[in-house]
Symmetry: C2
Subunit: 344 residues, 2 copies
């Protein structure tokens, strides 16, 4: 590979001048600029990334820390990742994707070695063990997911409280009085997946406020367990007329379960989920849903991260931003046929 020395020689200038033409960090005569640019083309010169990183203390790489946990729904992650990756490239950064189970160690490795200028953390838990490492590293970080303590961090997440309330309100407004919520598996809660209880607690509070019943349950994440779970659930709640799904695997499994039981939606049961529209179209999920906007969250996180990396103003206040959920109507909800309570 050609070096900047080769370019300088070919253009008849010094290495520093060649460098300045490349970086544009000082004015150069048109003539010199032209000769250097010609040499760059002739030699097919590309700067050595390691050398540049060493000299500038900037790698132009962002770390993307993802965890694929047993009970969590992997494909949703992909949409966040694509939002992150695409906008990063637009802003001139590459993505170092880290999938190790031990996120703290991975984070320490990539920040201490200065491989990355900043990091995006996904699957953030309430008491995420990566956060102390991130804070100690001095490297800017943006989170997707809300931790218990946001101090010193830029945080982006869907407004799960609002999502929970919206789901309850939507069905309550239609006249439903007995609902069931299926959340992610309980393991996710134990791991500190705050989005589970944020939606759940808000939904329960809203149901209470509106004087209706909401049975909140934790589901499963894979077949055959999730199918059996749903079947059992419907056995246990025969009076329920509305189903809230905060669980993608359950949303995918539900149509067959309903079919096998001869239940039609929305005629016999109103159903509303929480996942992205992209997701619904790819996997033929027929239920109305709260849009989770994963790529939008990923994009927001990276924009803020890059802003912070490049402005270097530590006094700039950190942000915690919640994206408002939007309801996508797919016609799977309707007023209940028979009133849940038979009034005299």
């Amino acid at each position: 590979m050609a070096t900047i020395g080769d370019v300088a020689k070919a253009a008849g200038v010094s290495r520093s001048t060649a460098s300045y033409v490349l970086t544009g960090k000082r004015t150069t005569s048109l003539e010199v600029r032209r000769r250097v640019e010609q040499a760059v083309r002739d030699l097919g010169y590309t700067p050595n990334a390691g050398a540049r990183a060493l000299a500038t203390s900037q790698s132009k790489v962002l770390g993307l820390l993802v965890q694929f946990l047993e009970d969590e729904f992997a494909p949703a992650m992909l949409q966040y990742m694509l939002g992150v990756s695409n906008v990063a490239r637009e802003l001139g950064y590459d993505i170092l994707m880290v999938t190790e189970p031990d996120g703290s160690q991975a984070l320490k490795r990539i920040t201490d070695s200065r491989m990355v200028d900043g990091v995006v953390l996904m699957n953030v838990a309430d008491d995420d063990e990566r956060l102390p490492v991130l804070r100690a590293s001095g490297v800017p970080g943006a989170l997707v997911g809300l931790p218990g303590d946001c101090a010193g961090l830029d945080v982006f997440d869907l407004d799960f409280e609002e999502a929970g309330r919206t789901m309850v309100d939507h069905l309550a407004d239609l006249g439903h009085r007995d609902l069931v919520l299926v959340s992610q598996p309980e393991h996710v809660v134990e791991r500190g997946g705050a989005y589970v209880w944020r939606l759940r607690d808000a939904a329960l509070a809203q149901a209470k406020a509106r004087g209706i019943t909401l049975h909140a349950e934790y589901g499963e994440s894979q077949q055959p367990a999730v199918g059996r779970f749903l079947d059992d659930l419907l056995d246990r709640h025969p009076q329920a007329t509305g189903l809230l799904l905060h669980n993608e695997a359950a949303a995918a499994a539900l149509p067959s379960v309903l079919h096998a039981r001869g239940i039609q939606s929305p005629r016999d049961l109103s159903v509303i989920g929480q996942y992205s529209d992209e997701f619904a179209r790819t996997f033929s999920l027929p239920f109305s849903s709260i849009e989770s906007a994963p790529d939008r969250l990923g994009r927001m996180a990276v924009r803020q991260l890059v802003r912070r990396i490049e402005q270097q103003d530590p006094t700039d206040p950190h942000v915690v931003r919640f994206v408002s959920p939007e309801l996508v109507d797919r016609g799977s909800t309707a007023p209940p046929v028979s009133p849940p309570d038979v009034r005299p």
Copy 2:
């Protein structure tokens, strides 16, 4: 951050000695080794990745080039990516994930700048425009997917011909004589997605050899188009008793379509697909399938790539390896109820 100079000073040795202790590239006295290791711990020293890359010409990073194309099924990609990422880390490499639409340019960028020691190419097309760039770069590369010309490359793919034959044989052995194959959208073929025609052509040939009818069609990749397509398909082939799905979106959409038409599988229609078991369990796909083994392919590709990077023996012959498909029985196939031809 501490540098190796700080470590050397703290340990009372020269920088070169400290470095040798770290790399283990020459013998050191136990005493010196202990002092250096203590200093490393005390200072929390981690080598600067850029400096090391500059000095060794090795970045310890692999490029992973993925493309998320409109008509292709994104979530399947994720499983390959995880196989790649996990085994890379086991072998001491990080992953630079590149999702740019212009793969050639991206490949040129990351290889010319020496950001990566090798690359894994996914979604490889028959006449993939990234391959000339890869060959010119001199950087080792491993492909997932079979291109028209494999010269100088390590190639890994599922044996799609065998998969097509297996699907046909399975249904033919059960007595089916009129089958329909739903492939990926035709766009994928136009882009050079060889896996589509490899499975399709082999299935057609096998059907011919066995004297049965196979109608080969191209499907859609998303709702609502894929649902309409399947419905129309069943209208057009009322005599078919078996359905072969080489199209994940179609597999996800089919259960509702069958339900709406009052068709039961396998009683009225035998169905066999081609996707990973992981996938079937996550998305509740109820059909028997040919396992696509994505993480296994990803792992194989990285192992070979790292072997090639580290041995540096250009005479080592390149490999083209096909993984044999395996049938996972989910009970969605059975002998046809009524013989397709009513014989006198």
